[in-house]
């Protein structure tokens, strides 16, 4: 359990600056997730902590040890950092069986044989792989290989655990199961965990705190899952955490109007009116598809169903709201019960259980999913 700190870390590859003056702290024992689009530099952050890359500038500290200082050009090699790493492609050594893979870190640390064997077996049991110690990786499924990788990363009781998209090669069901197991393992081993992913669902499900990173490698918001989900700092964060509707509106004499057809929209909450920046004339009203509420009546706003898709447990509609397409979703059961299964071309009433308001400066409109 160690603290991790980035102090103004910059890293470039050739002319491409990947990270610029990045500073943050991960508390001891915390599960911290960097969430961002692919290629945004989040993997580089992991590689910098692991020691596979060295920063151009800035300081990286693990616990009380400064492991890299870009300006002075020194870096502790990876093998001396006491870390556990789990890679996207598992990186389980194909020529060693499960037990040998998990024993390897202990062998490198010259742990006495008896103790090493005992610890490796315990770690294998911890990831529910007991009984498969003699198997070679090619005899294991993807999920099992990833469990071996986890056991290998945990067995030496590292101060920090780094996970780089460890679940993205697994199928949906397995992903769900594994993310829970990872969370449990982290709790039971008390290690500091840095998790890097582009999948907002995993991030929301396992993190204590999430840092949302944009394409330029800048943090947009750092907070608990509920904070970043419910109070997004800006449209980027909102869009990145799920399917997002953005409805462009403008304000005139205290009322709001849809930009697409100039018809009156919903009243602007007074709280929003008072907040700075929101006096601007142009706004984006944002919501999630499940926050769009449809009704058989035609008020307060009127919409038309453009597309309907039954997705099993969820019904997904695209609603034409005066020229802006809004996506609405409800659970199939609820739809059946409340007679809310519309056909394409039907009219419907639209309201919102919650709306967020952002100043509009060239941000896109409509649905982003």
């Amino acid at each position: 359990m160690s603290e991790i700190e980035f102090r103004s870390v910059s890293k470039s590859f050739g002319t491409k600056q990947v990270l610029k003056n990045l500073s943050f702290r991960i508390h001891p024992g915390e599960c911290f997730t960097i969430l961002g689009p692919s290629g945004c530099g989040k993997t580089i952050a992991v590689r910098l902590i692991a020691g596979f890359e060295t920063p151009d500038r800035g300081i990286i500290r693990i616990g009380s040890t400064i492991v890299a200082d870009g300006s002075k050009g020194y870096a502790l090699p990876p093998e001396n950092r006491n870390i556990g790493v789990v890679f996207q492609d598992y990186a389980v050594w194909p020529h060693m069986n499960v037990l040998e893979n998990v024993l390897y870190p202990l062998r490198m640390q010259k742990v006495p044989k008896e103790e090493a064997l005992q610890r490796a077996r315990a770690a294998i049991k911890q990831v529910n792989m007991d009984g498969l110690e003699e198997r070679l990786p090619y005899q294991l499924s993807g999920g099992q290989q990833q469990r071996v990788a986890l056991a290998r990363a945990l067995v030496s009781k590292p101060a920090i655990l780094l996970l780089d998209e460890p679940l993205s090669n697994l199928d949906a069901n397995l992903r769900e199961e594994m993310r829970f197991e990872i969370k449990e393992l982290q709790k039971s081993t008390n290690s500091t965990l840095l998790y890097v992913t582009h999948d907002q669902e995993v991030a929301l499900a396992i993190s204590d705190r999430i840092a949302v990173m944009n394409e330029k490698g800048e943090f947009q918001q750092v907070g608990t899952p509920e904070e970043v989900y419910d109070q997004p700092a800006n449209p980027f964060v909102f869009r990145f955490l799920g399917i997002a509707n953005f409805i462009p509106v403008y304000v005139k004499e205290g009322k709001t109007f849809l930009t697409s057809n100039k018809k009156e929209f919903l009243p602007l909450p007074t709280k929003v009116q008072r907040e700075d920046g929101i006096q601007a004339e142009n706004l984006l009203a944002a919501c999630r598809p499940m926050e769009v509420e449809l009704s058989r009546t035609t008020g307060p706003l009127e919409g038309k169903v453009v597309r309907k898709a039954l997705l099993g447990p969820i019904i997904d509609y695209r609603i034409d709201l005066g020229g802006t397409i809004v996506r609405a979703q409800l659970q199939t059961e609820e739809g059946s019960r409340k007679n809310l299964i519309f056909e394409e071309g039907d009219s419907c009433g639209v309201t919102f259980s919650r709306l967020l308001w952002f100043p509009r400066n060239g941000e896109g409109e409509g649905t982003h999913g």
Partner: protein, 564 residues
């Protein structure tokens, strides 16, 4: 408390890089540079007219022309035969496919100069057994078939080179996504239209890459033209170089002619490789299926049995007939007798192991190929590791040098090695086994680099990084992770070198001394001296050694594969 670790100025990686560059420069770089220098410079001055004058010499000009014609003809014939049989095996309901596929690869095992020797015995216009038989049968005055001609050389080379094409095309057809053809079918096309418009164009890159391998090989091939052409005054570049150097007793002037012809060879080979690059890049597309399904097979119906017979006859004629001939001739009491039991004796074979010249040749070949295979494999592993894995500055020099061995014909390597190691740099190993050893290392470096770097590319970076994260140093990671993982690649590099080196002729024939003949050289020399029976007996022994080698290695590799 702050721990500090400072990077050393020169890392271990850079030392390995420098060493790798050094190896390639000494083994490959300097010989090639010396060839160009000798070709273009005389007495320290650029001498282009001298260069052109030699090219204009009708003798050398003819050799150049012959080389090109042989290469072109062989490529054409091998490709047609290879594509036809590949299609037959992969896309029709030919019976006993698996066996037939294995049989079509057997010609690979038979060294082509031994094949040529057999065919000379059978079809030479003067004394060929088949010719004599046909003359009696048909009442002819002259031999109906003359194998000792340009056409003969082309046909014999094609017999033993077509597997290059067969192998590539067959595997492409087998791995091709069957839905590519099925979608043509559902579009309304019949099987013949599909073969013509979809299947063949899709495997064109494989056809081309097989064809270019054949072209590269036959352009600089010594054995078959030497055995079938020299006697009739038909020379290609390698045989001309050999003739010039030996007729002049190794004079510098002859060597200079050799370097000029070599320059032409290197340029032609480079052009062929360039063409391959260009053509393959143009046709670079994935046609391999994710999931395997049974491809559509053309029903041969009435042609099924006739085509099977054609295939079996083909293998019988190209493999079994010459092999049997070699063994029979090797057992003859005197050359020219008929193959009757009373004319045959085991003594000839035993003689091979008693007579010093042949005994030495076998021993020389065995230890030279073992040594060269071992050294080249290890050097190749190191160089490939630097090229594929570590990324120090200056890596590009290595990549550049690493490509060079691929475009160097055996004759050129031999000349370069002579120029480099006959005392010019204070080391004279001419007439010792070492010069052959150095030449083998240079000649087979390409194989080692290819096999090793393919294996290394399979080892993803994260496997190494995972080990570092587990607390292993760079060196421990190499020892525990990288080397065990590329072991199959290293072993196959070893055999890819050992087996062809065992039967090598093109390079050795320019380098051997009185006591340093190899198996190939000995067979060739015996044949030259008219000792056909002894040549055949030695060839038989060589064939047995090769056969044992090939099969045990195949078994070994299969077992290795099962383990992985």
């Amino acid at each position: 408390m702050v721990d500090i670790y400072t990077k050393p100025k020169i890392s271990a990686a850079q030392i390995v890089l420098l060493f790798s560059i050094l190896v390639l420069v000494v083994v490959v770089g300097i010989p090639v540079i010396l060839i160009f220098l000798t070709a273009f410079f005389e007495d320290g001055k650029l001498n282009i007219p001298g260069f052109l004058q030699i090219l204009k010499d009708p003798d050398t000009y003819q050799a150049l022309w012959n080389s090109l014609v042989i290469a072109f003809g062989t490529t054409l014939v091998s490709t047609s035969v290879g594509v036809f049989f590949a299609w037959l095996v992969a896309r029709t309901d030919l019976p006993f496919k698996k066996t037939m596929k294995a049989l079509f690869l057997v010609p690979f095992m038979l060294p082509s100069f031994i094949g040529a020797l057999a065919w000379k015995v059978l079809l030479s216009p003067r004394a060929g057994y088949i010719n004599k038989f046909l003359m009696v049968l048909l009442g002819l005055d002259t031999a109906p078939i003359d194998i000792m001609s340009m056409g003969g050389i082309i046909v014999i080379e094609s017999m033993y080179l077509f597997p290059f094409v067969f192998l590539q095309v067959e595997s492409a057809l087998e791995r091709m996504d069957p839905t590519l053809e099925e979608s043509a079918r559902i579009s309304g096309a019949g099987l013949l239209t599909i073969t013509r418009k979809i299947t063949l164009p899709l495997v064109l890159p494989s056809i081309l890459s097989g064809a270019l391998l054949v072209a590269l090989y036959s352009l600089a091939h010594f054995g078959v033209p030497a055995i079938l052409g020299t006697e009739k005054g038909i020379y290609n570049i390698p045989t001309k170089i050999y003739e010039r150097i030996y007729s002049s007793g190794g004079s510098f002037r002859a060597i200079r002619v050799g370097t000029i012809l070599s320059t032409i060879l290197v340029i032609s080979a480079a052009l062929i490789l360039k063409a391959q690059d260009f053509l393959l890049k143009k046709g670079k597309y994935q046609i391999i299926a994710g999931k395997s399904m049974r491809p559509m097979l053309l029903k041969l119906r009435a042609l099924r049995t006739p085509l099977l017979i054609v295939s079996i006859l083909y293998i019988g004629i190209t493999v079994i007939l010459p092999t049997v001939t070699i063994f029979l001739v090797g057992g003859l009491k005197t050359y020219g007798l008929s193959f009757e039991t009373k004319n045959l004796t085991w003594a000839n074979y035993l003689e091979i192991f008693r007579w010093k010249m042949t005994k030495d040749a076998i021993w020389n070949s065995v230890y030279l190929s073992l040594g060269a295979a071992l050294v080249t494999m290890l050097a190749g592993t190191m160089i490939s590791y630097v090229i594929v894995k570590s990324r120090p500055k200056g890596k590009f020099i290595l990549e550049l040098l690493g490509v060079l061995p691929f475009s160097l014909p055996g004759t050129v390597i031999a000349l370069g090695v002579i120029l480099t190691w006959s005392g010019r740099f204070g080391i004279n190993i001419y007439n010792t086994p070492w010069i052959i050893f150095v030449a083998y290392v240079a000649r087979y470096m390409a194989f080692s680099l290819k096999s090793n770097s393919a294996a290394l590319q399979q080892v993803s970076d994260s496997l190494e990084e995972a080990s570092r994260a587990c607390g292993a140093t760079h060196f421990q990671t190499l020892k525990n992770i990288v080397l065990p993982l590329i072991r199959p690649g290293m072993i196959s590099a070893f055999f890819l070198i050992f087996l062809p080196a065992l039967r090598e002729l093109t390079t050795s024939v320019l380098l051997y001394g009185p006591t340093t003949r190899t198996i190939g050289v000995a067979i060739y020399a015996l044949n030259e001296d008219g000792e056909t029976v002894r040549a055949a007996a030695l060839a038989s022994v060589a064939l047995v050694i090769i056969l044992i080698g090939e099969t045990s290695i195949r078994k070994f590799l299969a077992r290795l594969q099962k383990q992985e």
